[in-house]
Every structure is written in structure tokens, then in C-alpha cells.
Amino acid sequence: MTAEPDVTSRGQLVLRRFLRRRLAMLGFTIVLVLFAIAYLSPLFVAWQYDELDASAFLSPPTGEHWFGTTQNGFDMFALTMRGMQKSLVVGLVGAVLSTALAAIAGAFAGYFGRILNAAISAVMDLLLVLPGFLIVAILSPLFQGRTWLFFVLLLAAFQWMITARIVRGMTLSLKEREFVQAARFMGVPGWKIIFRHILPNMASLLIIDATVNVSSLILAEVGLSFFGFGIQPPDVSLGTLIGNYSNAALTFWWQFYLPAGFLVLLVLAVNLVGDGLRDAFDPNAPSRVT
């Protein structure tokens, strides 16, 4: 046997296996590049998202306006980049937050049971039956005038309940497994068992959930913006761009397809990363993909 490198803990193994996956690395690179152009390009291009070009209304893509302009003469490229800045944060941070919330709430409710379970279940059920906008309406004074990042929190807060229920169910069955009992009999505290044994054993579910959340949060943001939250004109997000210009798809296509294309690219890249992570966590997946 050739000398195996002295990499032994799970963190190291997962990282090594993740780095070996070409497609995952590709997806990861795309996400980084999207971040880079979203935040850096405004520094280099001529038109900013809130500048009007009175000489070009509804112009198709040209050398001057790479992605064309809107009917008011806003530069579509600048709008798309501005929108992507928002959507990347809403999608990625929101997805991770909501999945993390679901994982923790579900696992703690399932593992500790009793009062904690009853309390968390009550919150879950309440949020499931109450229409989201009602709560938003009630809470709106609280959020008025604050940074739009609060809004990411709010979005995540409406997203986690169903996953949390699945997590709770899986926790109930994982809790009976012998390796969890073994850890208990070793004296490992419950919260550690949850993070070390229970959640990693549902990593596939959580990762899939997070990747699905990315796109659904970006689109859900449109709905809440409608109620006057978060991203307000003249500011934009990919979601509002796609929502506003969806009826232009057949006529002035650039207004719809270019932002939509970036959303698709982002979602694809996130899926690749998700698949790679899932395989890296799963010891049964082949450790090397060519």
C-alpha cells in the first residue's frame, strides 16, 4: 500500500473529496466569478444602474449598452449586475440560513422531544398556517427603514418549516440507531450528537434543500418586494427584473432573457456545488470522479 497521507478527520476527508470533484469546482468558480463581476463591474463600466441614457430607449444590445436598455433608458447590464448583487446575497445567505434553521430546529425538536418539541412544533405549525404576508404586515413597522439585509432573515424565516418537519422525522429514527446510542453511552452531550452524528447523516437532504432554496428564495423575494419590503425601486434584484420584464420576453427579449440567463447560470452553478458537497459527505460515493 502506498503511503496514505495523514489526513484522517472527517473535515479533512470531506474537503479533499470535494476538491477532487471537477464539476463542483467548476460550479464553485462560477459562483465566485458571478460575485466578482456583480460587485466589481460597476467600477469599470460607463453606465450605472440609476443613470438614464436619454438617447437610447429600448435599445437592443450594442457596444455602448451591452445588454441593451429599458424603455426609460436604464442600462440593462448595470441593472442586471446591481440585481445580481442583491440576489446572490438573498439566494445564498438566505438558503443557508433557512436550511440551517430547519436543521437545527428539526433536529433539536426530534432529539430532545418533550417541551422543546412541543414549542418548536407550535412555531412551525403557526408559521405554516399563517399567511406570510400577514406576518410581514404585522411586523412591517419593525423593519421600516432598516437595511435590506433584514429582509434576507425574513425570507429565511418563512422557508424553513417543511424541511424542519422532515428533519424532525429523520431525527426520530436516527436517534434510535446504535451509533447514536453508543455516543450517548460514552457521555457525549446531546447537542454534540446532533451536530456530529444526526445532521451529517442527513447531509444529502440538507444540501438538496439548500440548493433548491437558492432559486426559490430569489423568486420569493419578488413577492415580498411587492408588499413594499426589501428591494425598492430604483434599486433592483434579479427577481424584480425578471418579474417586471417577463411580458417583454417576446418583444424586447434582452430585458427578460439576460437577467433570467444569469439566474439560471447561478442556480446551475449552485446545483453543481451542492452535488459535489453531497458526494463529498457521502462515504459511499466514489471518491474520485474523472
Binding site: E178, H197, P283, N284
Partner: protein, 693 residues
């Protein structure tokens, strides 16, 4: 001249597809079965024993490539159409599977299914078929068959289902019954019942039986001839006596030497076979056993040995080994071929038991579970008396074997101990601390000294943690600094006979034996004083088992451990334990020093249990008188009055007069010394020792 074989298998080869590549599951296997004989096929998991018989029945998935020839009464079965085969399957050849639940349809009553099996092949009225079904159920020993015929499979216990399967198998008077591990999922006393039913079925139908099993004891008691399979090949075949007493292939010798014997006591040296069977995906040339064989010579690597007739034994004794002629000439036995560690002497360093420290004391332990019904409005409908007043203690350096069949409460008992909480009633004292009044802190500290090894290492090791993290977990939990983890992990791996490289593997990448070694290493990480071993070897293959048992014995001696060894396999307990407690329906029926209990069992249940275990010794098996218990374990939520064993007690039903029986019904017998030494206790009013081995 012998009768023409009923089944003739020639050069049967089966290749299965897997993700890793084609698996050579069976490689040119040839054997024949004569009418009315029992041909046993033994092998470990992955040896191809089941695949080969499924191939005979053409029951393999379509991606399997089968070559060779299978002649059933001169008619070729391979390559036949499904329709032609279905005329033979079920009628001329029947199968009994390990898991009868999957072979019975859940939505039809058992009687209907048997009647259906008859009607497929025979033309008779539905009523007549139903009547036949009832007769068959009676034949296989199902009580009140007419009534039970209308029951559904899930209403049957495991043993009853297997009886129903046998009834279905013999419904059309087949010429050949293929029984694939028919008793593996069952308890020993039920296994004894089923084996007897199989014998009856054979007598009634005159069918030949192919009996596939991993248990050498069952083969010794049932088979006329045996084939031993290893890595997809038949490596030795012959009459049972030839194979058991004159084995010439090192693997067979190793297998025989690795089985702890119920009739041999603690002084038997177990010969472990090192290593694991080769991967069937890329099989090296030469003898498949080469990597594990102590007799290997250079040519074993290159040339695969053919099956050759052994000159000195009876005809039909074949072995596949380059050196079998030499083995025959020198008449080598297991212990000559395989290096065995010296048998362990009793290691309670001479001092009388009473003077040693108590590491665990259990007094009148009771655990009842509420039996609830209904999903929303849960109401209590009864109480399961899982553990109902057991008392024992374990002294330093001692191994107590706790034996009993599934449902007897042994698992509940150890879980109660491991939980370190106050029990429903009774007392648990671990290292002098009473669990009823210890602080959180003390409980945590006690966990250091009390560790557990579970039955199935696949289930007890987190599949998503590499071995290093698994072994570091207890260290971290008890505050061993992180910098010391790696060194300690390496040390632990070495202690249990693994390599440092194994630290970076996931449990799935290890073999069963290696996994269980990781489980043991984890339990040892904190240098405990008492280990609870919950069936630690029963999920392992026979040849691997010996290695783990030897390891446990060696560790016990080196580290001065005490064991609470829970098992249903009495042979293993006899080998490893100093004292043994036999449990039935939540109570102890007998407890004492291991030799006392095994050689002079006093309680009828212990006697039946011991007599139910097949010995890997054909002559002894043939001459033994067997006590076969009737019926199944009673419902633990409604145990019988008086003596809990009376519903199945052979003494109660066979020997006692009515007046004497009254006492069994009315008075619960207490655990007391009735038959001999003060340390040998039993719970039977009429205990008389008997030797059943």
C-alpha cells in the same frame, strides 16, 4: 449401484454485474444430488452458496450470466423459458427461504396461499385444496391448523411462518427441496423445531434436500453429504463424516477449528483464519484461499488447484488443494495447520470469588413498558414485563454470560444498566455507585469505566465518520487533549489488530471483522473496567468470529477487564464466560459457573436450550437425544402464572403428575440452590440435573 442423481450440476458459473465490475459469484461448481438425500452446502457470506442454488432455479436477476448445465432428472433447466420452468418450479422443485415473510403474500390468508400453490399444479376443487392445506399445516406442526389457516402471515410468529413455508413447499410432493438458510433468522429452540419439521417433510415426501447454511452444526445433524464453498468455488465435498473428520482442504480445517464447541468448554483453542476472502471482482489467479492459508507454497499463487479425489477416504470425497495429499498422509488437524493461541486458563487469579471486588451489582431489577394502543388517544392496554426481577453481580476480571432467546429481556436489561438511571424498581450498583442516587457528574465519570460493544458494527459505527473520528469521539467527550488523539487512535488500532492506515477509512470500506474491531477499540478508548458486549460476534462470519473471540479474551487478560457478555449463541458463551445466567421471559431460570450450568443443567429450559444447539460433530449429532420445545415464547405482556416456563416445559407436560403440576401453576419458583453447589442456582420446583451434550 446407486440411484441416478436427481439433480446434476455441471460447471455452473454465474457472473453478476456490479458497479465495481463483473463479480464472479460462482465459478464452475459441479455436484449432484441423489433421490432422498440431504446435500448440505456450507460457506460464509459471499461464498456463492445462495447464488448457485438460485441459479439452479433460474431465479437470478436478468443481468446474471449463467453458464454450465443443470440437469434435473435428465432435463436441462438452464436456458428454459419461464413457462417451462414454472411447471417444474414449485411442483418438482420447491424452495424454502430464509425470510418467509417476503415469500408469503401479506394480503392472503396462509391457508389460501397454500391452496393456491396446490391449485396451480393440480386440478382439484377449491374445497379439496383448502382441506389439503389444513392437513399440511397440521403436518408441519401448526397448532389448531383449521383455525390458523385463515390467519394472515403477519399474525404468525417467525417460526410459524417458516413452518407455513415448508407446508407450501411440500404441497405438491416435490422431488427436491432447496432450503436456503431456513433457520438463520430464528432462535435456537425454534430452529430445532424447524429442522425437525424439515426432517418430517422429507420423510413424508421422500424429497431430496439441498440445505444451504453457514452453520456447520446444522450440516452435521442434517446432511448426508456436504459441499464447502469458498470464493465461488466448491473447495471440498464428500460425506459428512469425511468432511468433518477427515477434512483435507485447509479452509475446511480452519472453519472446523474456528467454531467454539458447546461440548468442549473453555479449554478449546480456537483457530482463527486470518484475513478476509478475496474480492470476487478481480480474483487473483491461483488458489483463492492463498492469502489466508498457512500451508501455501509458491505454486498456490499461480495454479488454481482442481477438485481431486482423496485416495484414503471413501469415494466421492474431493478436495481442491495442492497439498491435500500431504494433509491426508500426515492426517493434519485444524490445530496443526492453523496457529492457535493457547487456551486461556480461568483468569480469576486464584482468589475465591467472594473476595474479589464487585464491579456491577444488580438486585431485583424490574423494567416494565406500558403497552399503548391508538395513535391519537393513546391508552394503556397492558404492561410488558420485559425484565421482572433479576439479580446478579460481576466481580473483577470475570465474564458473566447472559443468554436467552429474543424477547427474553436480555437487551432491555443491559440497556437499563447502560442508561445508569434509577430502574422501575430494584437496584443497579456500578463500581459501588448506586444509579438511583448519583449526580450527573458521577454518572458521566462512570461512563468512562463502563463501555459497550454492540452486535452489528455496521449499525453502531456512524457511516459518515471516518475511523479516526469514531475512535476520537470518546476521547474528546472525556476531555483528552486533541493533540493526543492521533497517537491514542493509532495505539487503539494496534491493540485490536488493525493498521494505522485504517484510521482514514470509513466503516463501509472495512470488512465485518475489522468493523467489529473498531467497535471494540472505541469501547476500549477510555480504558474501561467493565465492558458490556451485546452479541459482539453474532453478525460475523464463522471464520472471522474466532479471531474476534480470541481478541476479546486476550484483551480481557491484558487489560484486566470484566465482561457482561450477552448472547444467544451458547457455544460462544461457553467458550468465553466464567459464569452464565439463562434468562426466560424476564427472569433468570438458572445461573452458575459455566461448567456447572453446561455440564449439569438443572432447569428444563436450560436443558432444552442446550439440546437444541447443533454440534458440529456428525456422530454426536446422530446419537444425541434431543429435547424439542413446543410452541413459541408466550406474550410478555401476559406471562403465565406460577412458573413462566410451564407452557413449554417438557417436564411439566411429560413427567409430572397433576398434583405436582399444581405447584408449577400456582407458585413462582424462586432462584435457589437446589441441585448442587451453593453457587449454582435454578428456578424450577423439580430441578434435577441432566447431561444433554
Amino acid at each position: 449401484m446407486e440411484a441416478a442423481p436427481i439433480l446434476q450440476v455441471r460447471d455452473l458459473s454465474v457472473t453478476l454485474d456490479s458497479e465495481a465490475g463483473p463479480v464472479l459469484a460462482v465459478r464452475s461448481v459441479s455436484y449432484s444430488v441423489r433421490p432422498g438425500e440431504v446435500f448440505g452446502i456450507v460457506g460464509e457470506s459471499g461464498s456463492g452458496k445462495s447464488v448457485s442454488s438460485l441459479a439452479v432455479m433460474s431465479l437470478l436477476p436478468s443481468h446474471a450470466r449463467i453458464r454450465g448445465s443443470v440437469l434435473f432428472r435428465g432435463q436441462e433447466l438452464l436456458g428454459q423459458s419461464d413457462r417451462a420452468l414454472s411447471r417444474i418450479r414449485g411442483r418438482r422443485i420447491a424452495m424454502v427461504f430464509q425470510d418467509p415473510l417476503s415469500a408469503l403474500t401479506p394480503v392472503y390468508s396462509v391457508g389460501d396461499q397454500i391452496a393456491e400453490a396446490i391449485l396451480v399444479h393440480e386440478s382439484m376443487s377449491r374445497e379439496a385444496a383448502t382441506e389439503r392445506a389444513v392437513e399440511l399445516l397440521a403436518l408441519v406442526g401448526i397448532p389448531s391448523p383449521r383455525h390458523r389457516a385463515t390467519a394472515f402471515p403477519h399474525e404468525f410468529s417467525g417460526g410459524m411462518r417458516q413452518r407455513a413455508m415448508i407446508a407450501m413447499a411440500i404441497a405438491n410432493r416435490p422431488d427436491l427441496i432447496i432450503a436456503d438458510e431456513p433457520t438463520t433468522a430464528l432462535d435456537v429452540t425454534i430452529q430445532a423445531q424447524i429442522l425437525q419439521v424439515l426432517r418430517t417433510a422429507q420423510e413424508v415426501t421422500g424429497a431430496a434436500i439441498i440445505l444451504i447454511t453457514h452453520d456447520m452444526g446444522i450440516i452435521a445433524g442434517m446432511a448426508d453429504r456436504v459441499g464447502v464453498m469458498y470464493a465461488g468455488k466448491l473447495v471440498e465435498t464428500g460425506s459428512v463424516d469425511d468432511v468433518f473428520y477427515r477434512a483435507r482442504m485447509p479452509y475446511t480445517l480452519g472453519l472446523l477449528g474456528s467454531i467454539p464447541r458447546l461440548d468442549r468448554g473453555t479449554h478449546q483453542a480456537l483457530t482463527p483464519i486470518e484475513g478476509t476472502p478475496p474480492s470476487l471482482v478481480d480474483l487473483p489467479p491461483g488458489c483463492p484461499f492463498e492469502s489466508r492459508c498457512p500451508l501455501r507454497i509458491p505454486s498456490c499463487r499461480e495454479v488454481e488447484p482442481p477438485l481431486l479425489e482423496m485416495a484414503a477416504s471413501g469415494p466421492g470425497h474431493l478436495a481442491a488443494c495442492h497439498r491435500s495429499a500431504e494433509v491426508e498422509r500426515r492426517d493434519l488437524k485444524s490445530a496443526d495447520v492453523f496457529p492457535a493461541p493457547p487456551p486461556h486458563a480461568s483468569d480469576r487469579d486464584g482468589a475465591p470469588r467472594a473476595e474479589l471486588d464487585q464491579v456491577l451489582e444488580v438486585q431485583d431489577l424490574v423494567k416494565h413498558f406500558p403497552l399503548v394502543k391508538g395513535a391519537i388517544l393513546r391508552r394503556r392496554v397492558g404492561t410488558v414485563h420485559a425484565v421482572d426481577g433479576i439479580s446478579f453481580d460481576i466481580r473483577r476480571g470475570e465474564t458473566l454470560g447472559l443468554v436467552g432467546e429474543s424477547g427474553c429481556g436480555k437487551t432491555t436489561a443491559i440497556m437499563e444498566i447502560l442508561n445508569l438511571l434509577a430502574p422501575t424498581s430494584g437496584r443497579i450498583v456500578v463500581f459501588g455507585r448506586d444509579t438511583a442516587n448519583i449526580t450527573h457528574r458521577e454518572r458521566f465519570e462512570t461512563r468512562r469505566d463502563l463501555q459497550v460493544v454492540f452486535q452489528d458494527p455496521m449499525a453502531s459505527l456512524d457511516p459518515r465518520l471516518p475511523v479516526h473520528d469514531i475512535l476520537a469521539e470518546p476521547l474528546e467527550a472525556h476531555g483528552v487533549p486533541a493533540v493526543e488523539h492521533s497517537a491514542r487512535v493509532r495505539e487503539l488500532l494496534r491493540l485490536v489488530g488493525l493498521e494505522p492506515q485504517h484510521a482514514s477509512r470509513y466503516p463501509q470500506a472495512l470488512s465485518g471483522g475489522q468493523r467489529q474491531r473498531v467497535g471494540i477499540a472505541r469501547a476500549l478508548a477510555l480504558e474501561p473496567r467493565l465492558l458490556v458486549l451485546d452479541e459482539p460476534v453474532s453478525s460475523l462470519d464463522v471464520s472471522i468470529r474466532a479471531g474476534v473471540i480470541n481478541l476479546l479474551e486476550q484483551l480481557k487478560k491484558e487489560l484486566g477487564l470484566s465482561y457482561l457478555f450477552v448472547a444467544h449463541d451458547l457455544s460462544v458463551v461457553r467458550h468465553i464466560a466464567d459464569r452464565v445466567a439463562v434468562m426466560y421471559l424476564g427472569r433468570f431460570v438458572e445461573i452458575g459457573a459455566v461448567d456447572d450450568v453446561f455440564d449439569r443443567p438443572a432447569h428444563p429450559y436450560t436443558q432444552a436450550l442446550l439440546s437444541a444447539i447443533p454440534l458440529p460433530d456428525p456422530v454426536k449429532e446422530r446419537t444425541r437425544t434431543r429435547i424439542v420445545l413446543e410452541g413459541d415464547l408466550p406474550d410478555p405482556s401476559d406471562p403465565p402464572t406460577g412458573c413462566r416456563f410451564r407452557t413449554r416445559c417438557q417436564k411439566f407436560s411429560g413427567e409430572l403428575a397433576d398434583a405436582a403440576r399444581r405447584r408449577c401453576i400456582e407458585e413462582q419458583p424462586a432462584l435457589a440452590a437446589r441441585t448442587g453447589g451453593p453457587d449454582h442456582l435454578d428456578a424450577c420446583h423439580y430441578a434435577v440435573t441432566a447431561s444433554v451434550l
